[in-house]
């Protein structure tokens, strides 16, 4: 299977070249954020407050790593289930977010926001967190440190293995492939 290498920032040109089913190796900077961090970002947006991260062309990885052992860059890290972020996501996409990394399918509202804003949803394989941690080269604490594992961190990753699940045209990889293999 062909794998494409892409780099952040994910420009409109890159995003419009991605199609559901593409395997990519992503390099560059991505943020981690999951349940509580999403609620906080969302509430800040509603109140018109300044966000602790710049969402313009940003990539968010739904993940919370294990604690960093001595002499390691990061502990194990992998995707959490994305649907829990669905109710906050369209608002974040409107504010500039361009790519999300997680596992499992998204709500119709998220798929629609991906389409109208030229964004992309990448699926990562769940439960291969020791392997994925090897792609993380740098970690920086950025916001909500009180949330511990759920805090927002900026990761510098190299060749992060991902699949395009929902592309800007509204295609859905889970739906199409699962139906292909259904008996």
């Amino acid at each position: 299977m062909e794998t494409r290498k892409i780099k952040t920032p994910l420009t409109e040109e890159i995003i419009r070249s991605l199609h559901a089913g593409d395997m990519v190796l992503l390099s560059g900077e991505i943020y981690t954020a999951r349940d509580v961090a999403h609620r906080r970002l969302y509430e800040s947006l509603l109140k018109g407050e300044k966000l602790p991260i710049d969402l313009t062309q940003a990539v968010i990885f739904y993940a919370a790593p294990t604690p960093r052992p001595p002499k390691k860059v990061i502990g194990s890290i992998g995707p959490t289930t994305s649907y829990r972020m669905d109710s906050f996501t369209p608002k974040l996409i409107e504010a500039g977010l361009r790519a999300m990394i997680g596992k499992g399918n998204r709500s119709p509202e998220v798929v629609e926001a991906i389409k109208t804003n030229n964004a992309v949803y990448f699926g990562a394989i769940g439960g291969i967190a020791a392997l994925m941690s090897q792609c993380v080269k740098k970690v920086e604490m950025v916001a909500y440190e009180d949330l511990g594992p759920e805090a927002i961190r900026k990761l510098t990753v190299k060749d992060f293995p991902l699949l395009v699940v929902n592309d800007f045209q509204g295609n859905d990889l889970y739906l199409s492939t699962q139906n292909n293999w259904r008996i």
Binding site: P67, G75, I125, A129, A130, P149
Partner: protein, 290 residues
């Protein structure tokens, strides 16, 4: 008064610290070293998988288990709720502490010293308890003077896809199969397939759930040896689940589940409880007997 009570085995004293040490070791080990039975099941699945993406996913899953073992890292970042099964011999006397506290101290130490993620929080404020406590402890008193401890770190992704239902007795075997299949289908890619499906049939609402969880402790590939009907349903369900096409990581393919494990017991004349506990491919559990 004062007379020695007759017991089958000799009363044995076990120090609470010994329990704490054992629990700590089990949780660190369970989180970093996957069971051989599950590992073998991945290889078998890989040879059976026809989808190229599915094969690629299984390859990465196998590689991940290797890396985790070699580097002593958690296999998955979700190091789970600490579920503990204890079979306590009735002729054991715990000294130097209280059993429940000793177990929780073991969990606390494992998650702190083993660099495991603390994933427990208040249900409403979502404030992290910061030590992965409370643990979920299931205690059975059995005969003898030994203590068996099973540590099972259970991830949230697959637990969230689990379900229980009180069926009508008329629903029968077909109703049970339908409910299990629906639960797995609704779960889709979320519980990190290939999954193991634990099913509890009968008992009461909570007993069905406990049976479903205990069913996940059975070695992968081993059938229910107590009830032929259960064995038959396991086979049929495994085939229908794999026909759903969800596949490894939900990306389509032949292998959605590695096993279906059913535990059964009689129930009330008015009910037919069924519980489905879904286990992701990071099927972690380790046990020891003291």
């Amino acid at each position: 008064m004062g007379t020695e009570i007759e017991t089958k085995t000799k009363i044995r004293r076990i120090n609470a610290k010994k329990i704490t040490r054992a629990v700590k070791k089990l949780f660190i080990e369970a989180n970093t070293v996957l069971g051989e039975d599950v590992f073998e099941a991945f290889h078998l699945a890989s040879s059976r998988e026809e989808s190229a993406t599915g094969k690629e996913v299984l390859k990465k899953i196998i590689e991940n288990v290797d890396i985790a073992r070699r580097k002593k890292m958690p296999i998955c970042q979700d190091t789970g709720l600490a579920v503990v099964f204890v079979e306590m011999g009735q002729d054991v006397h715990i000294t130097g502490g209280e059993l429940h506290e000793a177990i929780e101290e073991g969990v606390r130490q494992a998650y702190a010293d083993g660099y495991l993620r603390k994933s427990v929080c208040d249900p409403f404020t979502r404030a992290n308890t910061t030590n992965n406590l409370p643990a979920i402890i299931h205690m059975d008193v059995v005969s003898g003077n030994q203590v068996k401890i099973i540590a099972m770190p259970k991830g949230g992704g697959s637990e969230n896809c689990s379900a229980a239902k009180m069926l009508t007795p008329a629903a029968g075997i077909e109703g049970v199969k339908k409910f299990v299949l629906e639960t797995v289908e609704n779960a889709g890619a979320n519980p990190c397939p290939p999954i193991i499906v634990g099913v509890g049939i009968g008992g009461s609402l909570e007993q069905a759930c406990v049976m479903a969880k205990k069913a996940l402790l059975r070695p992968v590939g081993e059938a229910n040896r107590v009830d032929e009907r259960a064995e038959q349903i396991e086979k049929e369900l495994l085939a229908s689940i794999n026909n759903l096409g969800i596949g490894p990581a939900g990306l389509g393919g032949r292998v959605t589940a590695l096993a279906v494990n059913i535990e059964m017991m009689p129930c009330h004349i008015a009910s037919l409880p069924v519980a489905v506990n879904i286990q992701c491919h990071v099927a972690r559990h380790k046990e020891t007997t003291l």
